[in-house]
């Protein structure tokens, strides 16, 4: 009971406040946001401002949004490409090393995300180890400024940060496939590729979907990876737009409206995931 009250007060009310701010008015003098508590009096001023910046003539919100989609698509695809062989190896071929490999795969969860990014900031500095290795310790003149607004660095950072969240659900799904099933497929004449395409792949779909979602959702709101690895507006993403609006005085309304748009777009996958998790819980 206290927990339900807690969730109501500190989970539902905050989300409602976001709505009230997003549909709130704008102070005529200071241009700051005024929340409107009564849903009947909600105005669309803030939303209009954001929509205008998205698709209007002065659409400076649009590039970061498109960039986010591009970065996330590339990063999620790369995560899947990395995660699948690793999860498959761990589930099937690790043999007596399975516990060890699994422990190492879980290790990033116990290392703070900021520390993992800090590690790359250290390596990618102008005099960092990456440049030293590329230039063969100063023999070649390749001084790359990795940390000043390179999309590649940001995407690699996203992949590095989130790939563990893809590996574990995938491992869980692949580990559940019974080896006798694969044997049966082979006995019935399927080649290696056929086994993969017609048995492993269909059976791993739930894991792939869960993994993609777990990786994709946080990337949509991520602004710190970008700030640490690039810091340039040339690579900013939706998360940066929201964060910048929050930290700029008087722009909370735009932040709320942006957040609302993101939440609405993401609500379908979020609800799908929540319901499928709830269902699988009931089944087990």
């Amino acid at each position: 009971m206290p927990a339900i009250a807690w969730m109501a007060v500190f989970f539902l009310i905050p989300l409602y406040v976001v709505l009230c701010v997003a549909f709130g008015k704008v102070d005529p003098v200071f241009r700051s946001a005024i929340p409107v508590w009564n849903p009947l009096e909600w105005s669309f001023t803030q939303l209009a401002i954001v929509v205008d910046r998205l698709v209007g003539p002065d659409n400076f919100y649009l590039p970061p949004v498109l960039r986010t989609i591009a970065y996330v698509v590339i990063a999620v695809a790369a995560c899947l490409l990395i995660a699948f062989p690793v999860a498959w190896f761990t589930a099937r071929h690790a043999g007596s090393h399975k516990a060890l490999v699994l422990t190492l795969l879980v290790a990033p969860f116990w290392i703070s995300y900021m520390m993992r990014m800090l590690a790359w900031v250290n390596l990618l500095q102008n005099d960092g180890w990456v440049n030293k290795i590329i230039s063969l310790n100063g023999l070649l003149p390749t001084e790359q400024a990795w940390l000043s607004g390179r999309p590649t660095t940001v995407i690699l950072g996203l992949i590095y940060g989130y790939v563990p969240y893809m590996i574990l659900p995938l491992f869980a799904a692949l580990d559940r496939i019974s080896p006798s099933l694969l044997e049966a497929a082979r006995d019935l004449g399927a080649g290696g590729f056929d086994v993969f395409r017609r048995v492993i792949l269909p059976m791993s779909i739930p894991g792939v979907a869960a993994g993609m979602l777990l990786v994709c959702l946080p990337m949509m709101g991520d602004y710190f990876t970008n700030d640490l690895l690039s810091g340039s507006p040339g690579t900013s993403m939706i998360g940066n737009l929201i964060n910048n609006s929050i930290t700029t005085p008087g722009q909370s309304g735009q932040a709320a409206a942006l957040l609302l748009i993101v939440l609405v777009v993401l609500s379908a996958p979020m609800i799908w995931y929540t319901r499928s998790t709830a269902r699988s819980e009931v089944r087990s």
């Binding site: 520390m115 800090l118 939440l263």
Partner: protein, 304 residues
């Protein structure tokens, strides 16, 4: 785990008997290489960062010899002597302890309630819990920030707000894990205790609760480690330098020519997290023995 391995081994052995031309060993060799490279890539950068926290010079890329300068000795920049670095570490740990102490009992009660009580309210509540799992953290953080800014709340930004936000965000861990355990336990034990004369509360306290200890323990570890890692919530709900955590410190100074002391505070939090996980793992193995518990922890990890 070991049972699983034998099955796999048997399967491998069998496929050799069948002498499939796909020669599994070569394939697993490629996969092993990929996995090995992945593990190197994922862990070596962090190891290097830890290494440089022990550098005796100011550089974070040129090794100048081992020293504890950035932990203890440096009179200005070391974690021990620099007020803001030390307070970041202490504040992170304090948040971890307080949040875990509140969220775990709350979550266990919540799980018990959801397990017993059927109807609209609990199913809505359980949906909310699962939803809080996937709602981007930034949404909850901004919502709470707005709520504290515009509503007359009896608390202000700072430690209290941070703890409240963290509790809300972390509540789903104990609820999900303890509920899963409750489902596997079933109602028989409790019914048996009741038949033997235990009161309803006594049955829960003396029979059910001890069986839940491993699940409670696992969720406590997960919550603690996750709070140490938290950044978005903690940052938006912070008030001043006193409520700055380690992850905020890294975010604020990583690009501003920091000293290895920054690596040092990150390493300390890493050690705290690992210590809790290792202690927890050992205790868990001791408890879980004979309860058929194995895999639950990993399963719930994977569910995240």
């Amino acid at each position: 785990m070991s049972g699983m391995t034998t099955v796999t081994d048997e399967a491998n052995a069998l496929s050799h008997v069948h002498s499939t031309p796909d020669n599994a060993p070569r394939k697993s060799y490629t996969l092993a290489t990929i996995t090995f490279i992945y593990l190197l890539w994922s862990l070596v950068p962090v190891a290097i960062a830890v290494l440089f926290s022990f550098n005796s010079g100011r550089s974070r890329s040129v090794w100048q010899g081992f020293s504890l300068r950035w932990y203890i000795w440096d009179p200005e920049g070391s974690v021990l002597h620099n007020e803001s670095l030390r307070s970041a570490v202490v504040h992170t740990l304090v948040l971890g302890v307080i949040t875990t102490a509140i969220v775990v009992p709350l979550g266990v009660l919540f799980a018990l309630a959801l397990d017993r009580w059927r109807g609209r309210v609990p199913s809505g509540a359980s949906f909310a819990v699962l939803l809080s799992f996937v709602v981007p953290e930034i949404a909850l953080a901004i919502g709470l920030l707005f709520m504290i800014t515009w509503l007359a709340t009896p608390f202000e930004l700072g430690t209290t707000a941070q703890v409240i936000g963290l509790i809300t965000f972390q509540l789903s861990y104990p609820v999900v894990i303890v509920r899963a355990r409750l489902l596997t336990i079933g109602t028989h034990y409790e019914e048996a205790a009741r038949d033997l004369g235990a009161s309803p509360l006594g049955a829960v306290r003396r029979v059910l609760l001890p069986m839940l200890y491993p699940a409670i323990f696992v969720s406590a570890i997960l919550v603690f480690a996750d709070v140490l890692d938290n950044f978005v919530l903690v940052r938006y709900l912070s008030a001043n330098a006193a409520s700055e955590t380690t992850s905020m410190k890294i975010y604020n100074t990583a690009r501003a020519a920091p000293t290895p002391a920054l690596n040092a505070i990150a390493t300390l939090i890493l050690l705290a997290s690992f210590a809790v996980v290792i202690v927890g793992y050992l205790a868990y193995r001791k408890w879980g023995r004979g309860q058929g518990e194995e895999g639950t922890g990993l399963g719930s990890m994977a569910a995240m």
